[in-house]
Amino acid sequence: MNITDNGFAATRRLILQGASLVALVGFGNPLLGLAPALAAANDKYPEDAFKAKSDADAVKALYGKTAEPSDKVKLDAPEIAENGAVVPVSVTTDLADVTSISFLVADNPNALAASYRIPAGTLPSVANRLKMAKTSNVIAIVEAGGKLYSATKEVKVTVGGCGG
């Protein structure tokens, strides 16, 4: 009798454990699904993205996905920057539904330089001036219709803007 009782209890326990696991997973999924959506909403200063060292990590921290190169992203930066402390960089695109534009300098200590939120009604075109520690690729990321597009250009720096 005892043996069958124990067996029953054990099975029962297993079933309960299984049920609670299912419940956890059931609750977990929508929460997990929510996290990237919140990150993409971009309504807070993206501290982690600015602390990321590499351009790939910064893009991942900022958008949670990767970008594909596109000739629709027009990145304008000088071939040679004599002063790395002030490098004029601008981007414009004819992609529709642009929600954000970001600038990265791949070989800076922290790759992400600036990220701009573009509400509906604002044109997808931004000009700014960045610091470059040394010769590096400059990357522009455009978020349009929930997808990421990029353009890259190498800028040669003769005098660095970081650490001098």
Binding site: T122, N128, R129, G163
Partner: protein, 103 residues
């Protein structure tokens, strides 16, 4: 005290072009001073442009934006004589705000 923000907003009828120049050291935290001591990071993190109670452009900046930063963008709408509000907050919690008339 004079505002740290200089902004020019020009309406062409359909769109308004905005150029802003802000006085700020934008210290990256990677540069040493003459004594060899690291200058702590001090840079603007968030710059917001508001028109008609709505944000038309928000910049999130890191330390790699140049000293005395400059930015240019355009938005649809915006009437001559209307106000454009510009404000920034830096990593030390300092901030400044100004309001410019669209020309």
């Amino acid at each position: 005290m004079a505002s740290s923000i200089r902004v020019r907003a020009t309406s062409s009828g359909e769109t308004t072009e905005v150029q802003a120049l802000i006085q700020h050291p934008m210290d990256s935290g990677f540069i040493k001073d003459a004594k060899g001591e690291t200058i702590p990071p001090h840079f603007i993190q968030e710059l917001t442009f508001e028109y008609d109670g709505k944000a038309v452009f928000v910049a999130d900046w890191g330390a790699a934006v140049s000293k005395d930063p400059y930015v240019k963008f355009s938005f649809k709408g915006g009437k001559k004589g209307d106000d454009l509000k510009v404000s920034w907050v830096d990593n030390k919690g300092m901030s400044d705000t100004t309001t410019a008339k669209i020309q």
